[in-house]
Symmetry: D2
Subunit: 341 residues, 4 copies
């Protein structure tokens, strides 16, 4: 019995010592020898470093859900972009919009979930859990986006559809040209524009950017001109080409939703060529969802293997933790590891 049980009892749990371990990287390394979600957090760092050091230079896709900009996470994403830790971003319209808004001086404020929301409404304040924003100022940002759409159409005689990626690129350029100089340093849209990291927003209409484009649409209907068209399928075609061109791929899911699903399905898009699509090689997910409800947001990498979305031989881990805690720590630790190399 003992001989056999030995193979299960090889690696001791080593208690983490926070008097001895001091830096973020040291503590997250020590978490490799602890248990539960701290160990999974450590594995995210390990897999991320491996992904970045792989000589085949995997294309790294980041799926970014949740209200990450009001949460104060835009500089963490920008750091990832600037340090070439991510090659493609798929995100929500809200994240793109809030990032843009801050570049135009529309900030987010610390608030409380225990508040009279009817009173906030009377004061024109929008609440995102424990964070506030000014409704009126948001509407000014919408106007700029609508004008950008007008301008694009004026310069686009064939009025052919754009992908969301192309439109997001235009927003990046808009920030570059007209955004607040100090704010844009932290903007992930601007950094993506600068460093040529494509940003996809498959459900663009489902956000204030969508509202702004609807404003533009109504105007066009009224004056009987052609409105800007965002073609989702063009997005698919573009990301399909990116996947095809990649030797290997790594994925990072911050939350679930469309960004996660959209990156998962790139292996399927590749399958449209007739040859079987290649699953992702590396991946980690930071989530607070769970698999038992059967939804895509909570599904595991293990499940993804059955579909061929992820390789059976790949390296994957999920860390069940709020992203506003886990993501900055992971990125900080990876920075330290890459430096020390």
């Amino acid at each position: 019995m003992d001989l056999k049980s030995d193979r299960f009892l090889k690696d001791r749990v080593v208690p983490v010592d926070v008097e001895e371990k001091k830096t973020v990287s040291e503590i997250l390394s020590a978490f490799n020898e602890t248990s539960f979600q701290s160990r999974n957090l450590a594995k995210c760092v390990e897999i991320y470093v491996k992904m970045l050091k792989d000589q085949n230079k995997p294309t790294v896709f980041l799926g970014l859900s949740g209200a990450m900009i009001p949460a104060g996470m835009k500089k963490v994403v920008s750091t990832m972009v600037k340090h070439k830790m991510v090659n493609v971003i798929v995100t929500t319209g809200a994240n793109a919009y809030h990032d843009l808004a801050e570049c135009f001086g529309v900030y987010h404020f610390k608030g409380s979930p225990h508040v009279d929301d009817a009173e906030l409404y009377r004061h024109g304040i929008d609440r995102i859990y424990d964070t506030y924003a000014e409704e009126k100022k948001y509407r000014l940002v919408d106007e700029r986006i609508a004008q950008l759409a007008d301008k694009i159409m004026a310069e686009r005689p064939d009025s052919s559809p754009m992908s969301s990626r192309e439109f997001l690129f235009e927003l990046g350029k808009l920030i570059d040209q007209e955004g607040d100089i100090k704010e844009k340093e932290g903007s992930f849209l601007w950094n993506c524009w600068r460093f040529k990291v494509p940003v996809f927003v498959p459900a663009l209409c489902d956000s204030s950017i969508g509202l702004a484009l609807t404003k533009h649409y109504i105007k066009c209907v009224n004056r009987n001109t052609k409105p800007l068209v965002i073609s989702q399928i063009k997005d698919n075609y573009e990301i399909f080409q990116i996947k095809m061109a990649a030797k290997k791929t790594g994925v990072i899911y911050v939350g679930g939703g469309v960004p996660k699903n959209y990156i998962q399905q790139t292996a399927y898009l590749e399958g449209l060529t007739g040859k079987p699509g290649r699953g992702h090689d590396y991946g980690f997910q930071i989530t607070t969802d769970r698999p038992e409800w059967g939804g895509l947001s909570g599904c595991t990498f293990k499940e993804g293997i059955s579909w061929g979305k992820d390789k059976a031989t790949g390296e994957f881990v999920a860390c069940y933790c709020d992203a506003t805690i886990a993501l900055p720590l992971i990125v900080r630790a990876v920075l330290e590891r890459l430096e020390t190399k």
Copy 2:
């Protein structure tokens, strides 16, 4: 002290007696006098009945997320459609696709989450938590969708963009014409087509329908013809008109994601007219997410009030429960209540 405390101590908790209460409707009524999530489940029924009996005939929007078809929930949704308990559906591409697939004989099977997913992959079986599907058969469905797109473009000389709603309507017609007669009875797409309930899928590209349309797109690129374009903004314009035309509105969120957000923002779309948009009047959500992560899927109706997405004077409740349990019970209880009237 006692006099004042009296106003807090008016309604006693009444223990539910399952020997006495027998029908689903009786038990869910009894839950009005219990606590925690059972009371919230009871409130969903109360609010739903109120919504349906309101003399202003509110337009009822259903946001449907999660893998509801593999979960065996399509007939519940169809019942809602057939009994005019819902007027507009916003859902995911996956739900539309799986519903369509079953009409063409591609079924879902009971499986287990504790399985070797690499083995499933080798057998061509896709896993959705505890449910299986056959990969190869899915691909046949894709082919039909791609052909539908080809056909639409052949008949659409101006090649103007379609809304997702228009395309989903075409899929409903396809089911009517070519779907398995026995299967289509339960199909929510077919019932929506039959009863003229619009179905929006804002993130249509993010699904196997999107894959099929990409297949069509690649073919068009290769033969240098114009591909079908799904215009998200046209969707916005259409749902904006529906919202404008409604005297009152009620919302049902099964899960979160794009379907929930998209319905929430209809009040904002209405605001594009210059007048302030009107928040929803009634609503209930069935969710397993929570507000503390700050994401849209877990946000509360209370938060929605600050934005004006929901009326401060409206009636709303969230029930924290897996939808595969809560939704059938709610619909069953509402049916019983409507009958007894």
Copy 3:
């Protein structure tokens, strides 16, 4: 490939039809053919019925955590006791105390979580999520318990320690003698007393019963007499004997905490005899916790198998759902199934 994949694709998901399925039992039967948590809810019923019909008459242990009495669940538990659906209960001090309190006219009231708790405090109102209780009246119940302890010690010359089970039996008798006649019908303590179902509260001191006994203790210290002693280890010895006498065992965990762990460890207690302890044969858990945090409350039956707490050949299921929804439905469905036999 197809031949092999067939074994995975045997049982189709059958959509639940709430127009056709009407009773609780019918709907929960239909859930056997759906997915996610509805299927697990159905399995709870299946396993419970099997447990009750097993010719070896398994001893059924119920672990009852959470504020089930303020939640209005006491009659559901009483139904289980009266119909011999449970043989031993392990619960928290709070559940025993709240049940007792209601027998003495101290009720629970429907409230709201969105309230000024400082104001409640000033009015002497205790809040349990969305339920209220009157602080002052609780204290009167404490006094009765303290007096019972005084009386017991007066009649117990050897002042030997009692198990919590013995003390709970005395509380059942107290309800029988002095409790409100109408209220006691629903009391699970009274029904357990009547039907000789032992009730264990391993952490008795951690509740208002504990407060009352501390009051008694202080009085004894002050007048230098021997206080009542509740011996936890005597509880262990008693439940050990129950386990030893059982041919087979089934377990029901409503929530986690001490009640769950205490029932799990009965197999271990049995191991103290020198022979290996026998794991449980049947079990279901209703929980909202999850395994990823490594705690006992969220641990799975699968994990229990490694310890020998549960038999590898046993039948077990967890349903992730609030107990105030799942428990009444399960008990109602089991009643219907047993009747129809």
Copy 4:
């Protein structure tokens, strides 16, 4: 409108910059200006530092639930003890037992939740989520505890009951005398013994310590001698005196369960004196539970205020995060803050 809304819009969210912020303390300080759970994590540090610097020297109670020793967290708790960051610990029998076991060379090992538990059982390996232990070796530890109980009774002629605190103190002494020298440095039981920090385990019988004491009990029954009695109510009396003696109190809840409830009720114990009990002054909780189920483990400090368990004027926060991530970070950051003072 603007003037009024200003009061809501005072503190901007400041994006965290992980290129600039490097130490754990710096990042956790920066989290004061972000949102969602990162901000709550920051507040835990702020409240903890305030608690420790309060000139009234609050008595700090730590409620420790969950499998913290197999998780590798014992040194973090020991650091808290050694640096006088905690004055009283209330925990589970499992935490005390696992800490003791490691002092006697019975370690925990890194494992996987995706494993055949029946195979583990055959190999005598117990699984705690992703961690393994050796069943056989645990039983040797039980024997030592049973012998300690024998020895205590031999030396205790009046055979009066012990509190769990007294018994835990004896275990601390046992570690000091017989434990592995290298291992005991990290043991929280040994450090508590050394630094005279009382450790309460209200549900001592519900653990392997309880099993060992039951072994002792059976032996006593067989040879007709008096067994060791652990009196829960004596625990209450002791912690009541600690609460009475404290000018102020702070509480830390790692998880929920009995440890949390037991610390909460100390204010109530104080109320037994006739004067109203004083609620706690400071507190933070690290939890993955939630309030919507109505259970004690997930209840909020806000709810505690209605009961008088927590002061309306106190400072409290809950951080929804796995403790194996949050606790080491908080303790590390507090160490840095205290040093820099």
